[in-house]
């Protein structure tokens, strides 16, 4: 391997990148845009759940219950129904997610110490929001019951709950670190998955073949410029995450840089493999989306926790590099983890990088036809 030849290829690739400022700009815009959306627009915190209340009782006690619900901030009463059918209409049309009926004898039963039934319907189509809404509702009615209870409810068990690492349970702190891993994987693959196929399609591969450049030199030379873009993206993302979104970063920046380099190396080599195998940009683009973006987004534990998946799928996640990078980033940001805790994950990324680079070398044949 000669350094000068790697440098020459890297320079050529760099020139090509610079001459396509649109692609380059998009390469930098992508992480900014995604972080922006996830940081500002998307929240998993469920509040202001649209609610329709059919209060048949119209007593001070039923009004107090509804007031408690609204005051919690979790429920937003969008309508007081006049008839029962209205609940169905509102849920059908999606204008309300929760329908609460307070029966006629609500206040009387409560005062009489009888069991009061409280029918609540929830739009189950979004099962996540529905589950959380029902949970909030149960907790709020429990509080309400305790508040109005004539006999003080005896607390037998005292639960002291503590939340570590993200005490306010902010979904932003949970999403942003993992998102950086997803962005890196997507960027790495999008950038390189076309870069060999392009040479084949345009016919410039013949010229490269005619040069004395060796396969590993060619691949390394192709990777280096994209690595630079990737690492700049990484810096951008970290800056946005900590400065703009105030996600705490408790680990070591040096460790992050080292691990990101290893991860990018693997991701970029993976994109190159796709590009080498397909030799066609249109096929390459389709495959790279399925092979990188989907797994990185959905199977990495970035947002959807792996312990909830079915067994076979859990096994599959073990070969998804983004899974390890997500774990590392979450550890570095929120837990302040050190090498001692993260070394298995880091080791896996290293193996992935070496393996993909080796496969890329093996798959590339410096021959026409």
């Amino acid at each position: 391997m000669k350094f000068i030849r790697i440098k020459a290829i890297a320079k050529k690739e760099m020139l090509q990148i610079v001459r396509d400022p649109l692609s380059l700009a998009m390469g930098f815009l992508m992480p900014v845009l995604l972080l922006f959306i996830f940081g500002y627009a998307i929240s998993l915190d469920v509040d202001d759940i649209t609610t329709i209340v059919y209060d048949q009782d119209r007593s001070s006690m039923s009004r107090a219950l509804v007031a408690d619900l609204s005051a919690s901030g979790y429920f937003k009463v969008v309508r007081y129904a006049e008839r029962e059918q209205e609940i169905e209409q509102y849920l059908d049309a999606g204008t309300a997610r929760v329908g609460l009926t307070i029966p006629v004898a609500f206040a009387r039963d409560l005062r009489g110490g009888r069991v009061t039934q409280l029918p609540i319907v929830v739009d189950g189509s979004d099962s996540n929001t529905a589950t959380i809404a029902l949970g909030y509702f149960a907790a709020l009615t429990e509080l309400y019951a305790r508040r109005i209870s004539p006999v003080p409810v005896q607390a037998l068990i005292e639960t002291r709950a503590r939340v570590w690492y993200n005490p306010e349970l902010k979904s932003r702190n949970f999403i942003v670190p993992g998102l950086i891993a997803v962005i890196m994987m997507v960027i790495a693959a999008l950038l390189t998955s076309l870069c060999i196929a392009r040479e084949w399609e345009r016919g410039t591969m013949e010229q490269l073949i005619a040069t004395p450049v060796k396969t590993p030199e060619l691949i390394l030379g192709k990777i280096i410029p994209y690595y630079l873009i990737g690492i700049v993206d990484m810096g951008l993302s970290i800056a946005m995450a900590t400065l703009l979104f105030e996600v705490p970063f408790r680990g070591s920046l040096l460790l992050l840089t080292v691990i990101s380099t290893v991860f990018l190396f693997g991701g970029l080599s993976f994109g190159i493999i796709i590009s080498i195998i397909t030799k066609s940009q249109i096929v390459s683009s389709q495959i790279s989306v399925v092979a990188t973006y989907l797994p990185a987004f959905l199977l990495s534990g970035f947002m959807f926790s792996i312990s909830n998946m079915t067994r076979p799928l859990q096994v599959i996640t073990h070969v998804i590099p983004a899974r390890y990078f997500v774990a590392i980033l979450k550890g570095l940001f929120l837990k302040g983890s050190t090498v001692r805790v993260l070394y298995t994950e880091a080791l896996f990324l290293l193996v992935f990088g070496v393996l993909t680079f080796a496969v890329a070398n093996k798959k590339f044949t410096k021959r026409l036809g």
Partner: protein, 379 residues
């Protein structure tokens, strides 16, 4: 009159030939056939199996300092609920910390010494719950579950007679998706996603490739008119999109038992209206991009925000108001409401027509604008 009919016939013939050429070109690469088939299947599987916010099997550590009948009973109830999976029994607080640090568990329950004695003496007995807040969603749900289980246990132990206490019995029902299966919510949405990604990429790249390789000039010297070129370049991908729509529906019903409560006839109709926008955007990208690399990047740059701001995974009501208004421009938003309404709620035209109308208006505007731009770029 006859002349006109002949002209139309010739035009149709030219479009047909272009469509045939396009199909030959796309499928000449045998791998494309597999891709068109495999991508919808994979996405249905992944979204059906993986994308769930349902929280169960929370990896749990129990640090039981009391080791009494009562403490074991509490742990048993935790396990029996199905929400908690007790994997570790650490022997010291340091071990608890280590397990949470290493993300081996996300939930830890510590039952203090004297738990059973306190319970018997009617003094508040104490338990400590520690949640890994890294995953805020799981954290909230886990806390809620744990609280409910502990409250229930406490109530069962309580000697206060029900007559004295206020008792409210919640009768919860979930409509449209009674078992609250997230598959039912996600899988119909996959139709919208697959169509969007596949059609966008194929349309934009197919046009740009002609330009990149230089075969666009050859197309220009044929008698093809711009409008015919546009139709010939979009219809093949519309056909593939319809094929994918059918595939996802069949997979969803067969693999995941997704209910179809509404009229299936509305599905192709709304897909067609949805495609107006998607193909229009694909065309627009092809007028901006000059290389396939650019086409791929721009597609992604459009696709990601469109998916994230559509209500596919993240409810629109949770977004800040500005973004909520922005979603009204997103064709995906309307199509998702339509397909979910069709599959889960059994909605008909009477409820869905405003969505369809909005989708139609957006589609018409998008496709007209991009067709105009496309013609300009040709000339």
């Amino acid at each position: 009159m006859e002349e006109r009919a002949a002209m139309v016939q010739r035009s149709v013939e030219r479009i047909k030939q272009l469509i045939i050429k396009e199909f030959i070109q796309v499928f000449r690469d045998k791998r494309m056939k597999a891709i068109v088939f495999v991508i919808p299947l994979l996405q249905t599987m992944v979204f059906g199996y993986a994308v769930t916010m349902d929280v169960n099997n929370i990896p749990t550590a129990v640090y039981d300092l009391d080791r009494s009948y009562e403490s074991r009973e509490l742990v048993r109830r935790l396990t029996a609920s199905g929400y908690f999976d007790v994997r570790y029994r650490p022997g010291s607080p340091a071990e608890v910390r280590e397990l949470l640090d290493r993300s081996k568990v996300t939930f830890a329950l510590q039952i203090d010494r004297g738990f059973s004695k306190d319970l018997k003496r009617r003094v508040p007995a104490s338990v400590q719950v520690i949640v890994d807040g890294t995953d805020s969603n799981t954290g909230i749900v886990a806390l809620d579950y744990a609280n409910r289980i502990i409250l229930k246990y406490q109530r069962d132990l309580s000697t206060t007679r029900p007559a004295q206490a206020v008792r409210i019995d919640l009768r919860q029902r979930a409509w449209y998706n009674p078992e609250l299966r997230s598959k039912n919510y996600n899988v119909p949405g996959v139709i919208a996603m697959v169509i969007m990604l596949t059609s966008l990429l194929l349309t934009s790249m197919a046009v740009v490739r002609e330009r990149e390789i230089g075969t666009m000039e050859q197309l220009m010297v044929t008698p093809l008119r711009p409008a015919e070129l546009i139709l010939g370049k979009t219809i093949p991908f519309a056909i593939i999109a319809f094929f994918d729509m059918v595939l996802v529906t069949v997979f969803g019903v067969l693999l995941f038992d997704i209910p179809i409560n509404g009229s299936l006839a509305l599905l192709p109709l709304s897909t067609a209206i949805y495609l107006l926008s998607i193909l229009g955007i694909g065309l627009a990208i092809s007028t901006v991009a000059t290389t396939q690399q650019q086409a791929l990047m721009s597609t992604f740059l459009f696709y990601m925000p469109a998916v994230l701001l559509s209500g596919f995974m993240f409810p629109i009501e949770n977004m800040p108001e500005v973004f909520q208004y922005l979603t009204y421009l997103n064709p995906l938003r309307y199509f998702l409401i339509i397909i979910r309404g069709l599959f889960l709620k059994g909605n008909g035209l009477d409820i869905l027509w405003p969505q369809m109308a909005a989708l139609f208006v957006i589609g018409t505007v998008v496709i007209t604008l991009s067709a105009v731009r496309f013609r300009k770029r040709l000339g």
